[in-house]
Symmetry: C2
Subunit: 347 residues, 2 copies
């Protein structure tokens, strides 16, 4: 790494102080060897306030949330930005370009950035070129996409002499998640309301299944004919179920299910099955690899999405700081690992 100052203290900007960005900031505050030097958000409710106040941690941090990106970057000269604004590549592209041009590394939880080549190869190429030119690394990560349905799958194929078919399933009991997540999956709606919200785009389903499939295929050198993402389907409560916030009547929507397939020679050789609903009794993350050897792997209960996304975003900081410049995906970087309290120990 050209910049040796990073080893004494990593200077980080929080770009997006929402549900995930706020949790990222709180985790970073528990670490040593890293300092939050700036915070960016567009919300009028947050701009001008001290970050500590926005985070609700009961103390000021001396970092004022700003919507003036250029000014924050010019004044704080961060090594890296923790970027958590939206799920879509086209929306984050100009934001990432600004960071890159300021010589700032990026860890982003933008789902489409986890494997941007299938969203818009031209934008991905531009990001890669710009990152190389300015000597920085840009990474999209998260628990899913970013780990459970792609990186972990890829790692497990590492012990296979042959891989014929892959099936990945994630079943989340939405009752254990925050309310916005429960609403996002349509919990408590009637079937008709659910269909309307799908139509209007108010419910989008999980963003990232395509990215996960494309990343697995790329890692394995598989040339897929296509990636097929099925429409989001409601999961109907067979009996009344509830979370702390939402009661679901029998016959109403408890959540949703979405499947996606990587197709080769007309057959699905990668199947991802994502289910999130209130009342799921068998929460788990399962990977089945039909190969030599066959692998049946299961994590029980499934890993909590928010906890895991915040963790892996922070944990990838040292890997990003040490990588060669360019646009990276999780498969290009060293095996992820938890960071110690003092982050400088792994720099």
């Amino acid at each position: 790494m050209g910049d040796s100052s990073v080893r004494s203290e990593v200077r980080v900007v929080i770009y997006g102080v929402g549900a995930i960005g706020g949790r990222v900031a709180r985790l970073l505050l528990r670490k040593r060897g890293i300092r939050i030097v700036g915070a960016i958000d567009s919300s009028p409710k947050k701009v001008g306030k001290d970050l500590g106040e926005v985070l609700g941690i009961g103390r000021k941090l001396g970092v004022v949330v700003s919507n003036d990106v250029e000014k924050v970057l010019d004044e704080t000269k961060p090594h890296i930005a923790m970027h958590t604004t939206t799920s879509f590549l086209r929306d984050v592209y100009p934001q990432l370009m600004t960071l890159i041009k300021h010589g700032v590394h990026v860890v982003s939880t933008c789902e489409e950035l986890s494997y941007p080549y299938i969203v818009d190869p031209k934008l991905a190429e531009n990001l890669d070129k710009a990152a190389k030119k300015h000597g920085v690394v840009v990474l999209g990560t998260g628990i899913n996409p970013g780990f459970l349905m792609d990186t972990l799958v890829i790692a497990l194929t590492g012990v296979c002499q042959e891989v014929r078919r892959i099936e990945v399933r994630r079943i989340i009991n939405a009752a254990t998640r925050r309310l916005p997540f429960q609403k996002k999956i349509g919990a408590g709606l009637t079937i008709e309301e659910f269909r309307e919200k799908i139509k209007s785009g108010a419910i989008t389903g999980h963003v990232g299944l395509e990215q996960s499939i494309a990343m697995i295929a790329d890692a394995l050198g598989w040339k897929l004919d296509k990636i097929k993402v099925e429409e989001v389907k409601p999961i109907i409560a067979e009996k009344p179920v509830e979370s702390r916030e939402i009661k679901v009547e029998s016959g109403s929507v408890a959540g949703l299910r979405q499947c996606a397939y990587g197709i080769m020679d007309g057959k699905p050789i990668i199947t991802l099955d994502f289910q999130a609903y209130i009342g799921a009794e068998d929460e788990h993350d399962a990977i089945k690899i039909d190969g030599k050897p066959e692998i049946n792997e299961r994590i029980t209960p499934c890993i909590h999405g928010d906890l895991g996304t915040v963790a892996i975003a922070v944990n990838m900081i040292p890997k990003v700081l040490k990588a060669t410049p360019g646009l990276k995906t999780m498969k290009d970087l060293p095996v992820p690992s938890a960071t110690p309290e003092d982050i400088s120990l792994c720099l």
Copy 2:
């Protein structure tokens, strides 16, 4: 990578044509974009014979097994050596140095090489320096050590905000493994015979628990007080059990168990529990991480050791060819992944 010829065809030497080396060679023969150009072994039974004959594949390969390492390397100019001779760093050190000095990358299944720093830091440093000087990568890998009890554990901590304690268990039903493995774990012996063979060094237990613990600790930035490897204990058959080759009476030794601990502040914060015995009904690989979030992961049945070791050794070839020079461990390289039939697709 300096040498672009590797992208058209990787030239590989098989160094050690034993149980594992032979299987590595057979797997490589099923791949395209890679060619076995030489084979090294010290056994008089193999030297001078065609590799195809030694492998028992019913055809000649035009590669004669030789015990003249220098000559093979000078004449065949390999990019990489698949090295499978012994488990111990001091034994492989001169072999590795010869490979390095000939500018040959190394993937080795030497257990102690998976994390050599705790065996002999001086030798490890010499290997690293020499590898850098000659522009090559040296990697020790395998299923265990190399993946199940270290790399996979490390990868799973990647989604943790905090890790307090790690427990890893591998339970192998030895009846499904080759006879030398069954013998190596003492299956069929009386307790007295077992103790004698432990004493004489004829049974050594599993080599690599220390390496796995040290690699995990390093990845997490944990400074262990010490690594404690318990003595190998026999697992006694409670009822008669048998493999195809060995019958174990009730009260005799069915196999062995070995535990190892990474100790910090007087407490075991990493526990590895390795069990291999005939009649194990609950074969599995389990990882439990006490952290935030808690992770309970299980692979059922456990991954077959030989299959997995051969796979991961071959699968790491592209990662080694693309890495920066030096002595590497699995935690330093990108996430492992299965190689396609045509290995050039991932170069």
